[in-house]
Amino acid sequence: MRSEIHAQSSHELSPYRDEIISPERVTLWRDSFRRLCLRVDGEREFLDVRAAAAFPISGRASLVSFLGEQGREVLLLRDPERLEANSRAVLEDELARVYFTPRITRIYRIEETFGCSRWEVETDRGFTIFEISDREQIRLLPGGRILIQDVDGTRFEIPDAAALDPNSKAWLDSET
């Protein structure tokens, strides 16, 4: 049985390179060293892979890529929400780490000094303060969605600017 399980050699290309794999064929787990591992069709295993969403911002399609050594893709998975429960929980946990993006629910104050601004906000992950060094770091997307990247590279999201309370909206208007 063991002999049928191949560990991936670093110079071998994945046999799944030309397909988009359906979730029924994939099992995901985290090993005791917290490495993300996956098995396809119950036989082929890939250890220590990295998960990356194909459309992390627009979410146009839910496709998750798994990258192995040297960033080479080992598998592209469709509809990860249809994975069996354990695998799905592992993947959701991983993606929540990879794409850490607090959603701003309320803006208390934006202090503007010399082109930089300091935001005091409430997010779905608690109160925080961040600074942006350039208004260019505020991306306005269709549908009133706003993405903000702070000076350290942390990302924040406002899902719908129009849905904010009037006070927050007024603060936001002065920045966009």
Partner: protein, 767 residues
């Protein structure tokens, strides 16, 4: 923390100083930590992270002591409890996981890995430092369990400044400003700027005198109005009319003459000071370290020499003058108004605070709107920059209507913002006008009443002069509202220019530096460690010895440290620990100039200066004779193609040598190196960017160049290195193999594997 309202007090971790030094933990942390530690337990490293494991914001500490690795959050009333408490002996290592905008530090034991802390990107370098310490503990444990001596402890690579933040106060720095405006000491900057004016203080004094005289002269005609009405027209005195006419002509002539003089003096002063500053900045730029340039974009550095200095020139030549003129005018007119009639003066000055405040308010508001307009304009430019150069693509995929729609959408946004600004300006200026006009109406009404009812009090002429002065008064007042803005701009520019002048110069030579003459070319690396960024060594404990005249091939995957190694030989950077010796001298003990005179470099992307072929070849030795230049070109296989140009050696090579093909440029740069005749030669991917045929040409040239010189050659194509005496194989900053081609192939390591792969590839190519 309440859910709806803003938290009463900020969570402490949002304002903690970072990085945290283990010897100097914040008081509140030390207090609860005391309950967790045993007496005389020593903290060796501390990390304060800002996320809890569930991804919510919260404070969590990771501590490495001489006994344990501890993770704990500040206790909430209850007794502090360590969430992870791991004896050091069990640590095998750690790993920092870098995600898109956050990270996690995991600690590993022989059996498992545990997520210790999570953090947002701002804590990345502190986490890397902690991981570095844990790695060392792991290595120590491994050595002890194998019965080897524990490896020496090494400090983490020095932490550089965090990109985008001020190194002094930690606040965000605007990308365009490039300098922290909070830490800017405006006063000091202006004083420093004046130290450049000081050598020309006579010119400055003359300029100031002209300015003040001019300000006074400009008030004369208004003052003469009073005289004209009261003493000339009312009594009908024609003799005095002549006097007024002559005085007016004199005042205007004087204004013109002094205006000319002032203009020239101030222009001279501004340009002269900037000439000095420009020269000084450029000279200094050449002495700066390579890391200074690594940290900055070329465009930004160039902008400091050009646009920032021009802004300073404007400030010294005009801005400062305007400020002085405005202040003096305001004071003078104030005095005159009060002298004419203090009651009217109070009345006239009434709206001034209102006007100042409204100008201030308007400035902020319009600035904000102009910024929105500017953003939308640049969006339009972005569409243009996409579409116009890509017009062939647009046409071939018949996407013209879509591009038009895209442009129209951006254009419409700009239109609506422009209208907002237009609404504001079209209301504001007429309103201010109305305000000042109403003010003058008041003055006329009350002044007129005074003139008519109280003969012997205010005269008609005085009233007219009064109204004249009033109008001359509003202009400087509105300008003074913008003083802060102008000062700010000048101070920012000054700061940026002075930042260059204050930047650290290249590794200072100590007084006893040895001057190398012709060296033999023996090179020795002794346990060299060097890192560009915190937590990661680009070279980690590299040691090897190179005989004079030996050719060393440097092999390894990208990022292995090959280029770093040759940069250290040139001493573009100083090692963090260990040493590099050339002919037995530590490179830090020899004069930089004499070191680099012995080194020749051929880079992957050769840089040619604007000038002739001959000038480019002789760049390394401007005094070289024509014969030497031609000999070098011949040796570099460059002579033939140079002669094929109609202008021969006089052919001008474009700004970046764009008129030459890659292989040709490369051969010019080889000729340059040959002419320099260095004892140590560095070939950094010299043949990577040319086709196979050209490579052969260049290869021949290189073979001639390499003879009798100590050579370090970096190449991905191993065939390039077939002449190398020995090969040094690097991986992740460590030297993993060293030896001749045959030895390394026989040992079957990384080099052997690479060789096999590449020979398979070349077979395919042959087929």
């Amino acid at each position: 923390m309440s859910v709806n309202g803003k938290p009463d007090s900020q969570p402490a971790f949002l304002s903690r100083e970072s990085p945290v030094s283990p010897d100097n933990l914040p008081g509140d942390v030390r207090a609860w930590l005391a309950d967790l530690l045993v007496p005389d337990e020593r903290i060796e490293a501390a990390l304060c992270a800002d996320l809890l494991l569930d991804g919510r914001y919260g404070e969590r500490w990771a501590l490495l002591t001489d006994r344990r690795f501890l993770v704990a959050s500040p206790p909430d009333g209850a007794a502090p409890r360590a969430e992870i408490d791991l004896p050091v002996e069990r640590i095998t290592g750690s790993r920092v996981r870098d995600f898109v905008a956050s990270g996690a530090l995991e600690i590993t034991t022989a059996e498992e890995a545990v997520e210790a802390v999570r953090f947002t990107s701002g804590f990345r370098s502190e986490a890397a430092d902690m991981a570095f310490c844990l790695e060392q503990v792991g290595r120590r444990n491994e050595a002890t369990s194998n019965g080897e001596a524990a490896p020496k402890r090494v400090a983490p690579p020095r932490s550089g400044a965090v990109a985008g933040r001020c190194p002094t106060c930690g606040r965000a720095i605007h990308r365009r400003h490039g300098t922290c405006l909070h830490c800017l000491e405006r006063g000091k900057l202006v004083v420093r700027l004046f130290s450049y004016v000081y050598p020309y203080r006579r010119w400055a004094a003359l300029g100031l005198a002209c300015t003040l005289t001019l300000t006074g002269l400009r008030l004369v005609p208004t003052y003469l109005t009073k005289y004209l009405i009261d003493d000339v027209i009312a009594p009908g005195d024609l003799a005095k009319l002549n006097f007024v006419v002559v005085a007016l002509v004199a005042a205007y002539l004087g204004s013109a003459a002094i205006g000319c003089a002032r203009q020239y003096v101030m222009q001279f002063l501004g340009n002269r000071v900037m000439y000095d500053l420009r020269t000084q900045v450029f000279d200094h730029l050449q002495l700066l370290t390579v890391s200074y340039y690594n940290r900055r974009q070329t465009g930004h550095i160039m902008a400091r020499i050009t646009s920032d200095i021009v802004r300073l020139q404007n400030f010294i030549g005009e801005g400062l003058q305007d400020m002085i003129v405005n202040v003096v005018t305001v004071l003078l007119i104030c005095g005159l108004l009060f002298k004419l009639d203090w009651r009217l003066a109070l009345l006239a000055l009434g709206p001034i605070p209102l006007i100042s405040v409204s100008f201030y308010w308007f400035g902020r508001r319009i600035h904000h709107l102009y910024h929105r307009i500017w953003r939308r304009t640049s969006r339009i430019s972005a569409v243009l920059a996409d579409t116009i150069p890509g017009i062939r693509v647009v046409k071939s995929f018949t996407q013209e209507p879509r591009e038009s729609r895209r442009f129209q959408a951006s254009s419409a946004e700009l239109f609506s913002e422009e209208l907002r600004a237009a609404r504001l300006t079209s209301v504001f200026f007429p309103s201010v006008n109305l305000l000042t006009s109403l003010g003058s109406v008041f003055v006329i009404a009350i002044g007129g009443y005074l003139v008519v009812t109280q003969p012997g009090g205010l005269t008609l002429g005085e009233l007219m002069a009064f109204i004249g002065f009033m109008w001359q008064f509003y202009e400087p007042v509105s300008q003074l509202g913008r003083i802060n803005h102008r000062l700010q701009h000048a101070a920012t520019s000054a700061e940026r220019v002075f930042e260059v002048l204050d930047a650290e110069r290249e590794a200072p030579e100590h007084p006893g530096a040895v001057k190398l003459s012709k060296i033999r070319g023996e090179v020795e690396f002794g346990d060299v460690r060097f890192g560009y960024e915190p937590g990661r060594y680009a070279l980690d404990g590299v040691s090897f010895h190179v005989e004079p005249g030996e050719m060393i091939g440097l092999v390894g995957p990208s990022g292995a440290g090959k280029s770093t190694l040759v940069h250290l030989i040139c001493r573009f950077y100083d090692v963090d620990s260990g040493q590099i010796r050339i002919d037995g001298h530590d490179v830090r003990d020899v004069s930089l100039r004499s070191l680099r005179e012995n080194i020749g470099v051929v880079l992957q992307e050769p840089f040619l200066f604007h000038g002739t072929m001959a000038a480019n070849i002789s760049y390394a030795r401007p005094e070289a004779s024509i014969e030497e230049i031609i000999a070098a070109a011949r040796a570099a296989n460059a002579h033939d193609f140079i002669m094929s140009f109609p202008d021969g050696y006089d052919t001008v090579v474009g700004e970046r040598g764009q008129t030459l093909a890659g292989g040709e440029r490369q051969r010019i740069s080889i000729a340059r190196a040959i002419l320099r005749d260095p004892r140590i030669l560095i070939l950094d991917e010299a043949t990577a960017s040319v086709d196979t045929e050209t490579e052969t040409e260049i290869q021949k040239a290189i073979e001639r160049l390499v003879e009798n010189r100590t050579t370090f050659a970096i190449a991905h194509r191993l065939s390039t290195l077939r002449k190398a005496d020995r090969l040094v194989v690097l991986e992740q900053g460590k030297l993993i193999e060293i030896g001749t081609h045959d030895e390394l192939v026989a040992s079957g390591g990384l080099y052997g594997r690479l060789c096999r792969l590449q020979s398979e590839l070349s077979k395919m190519r042959a087929w």
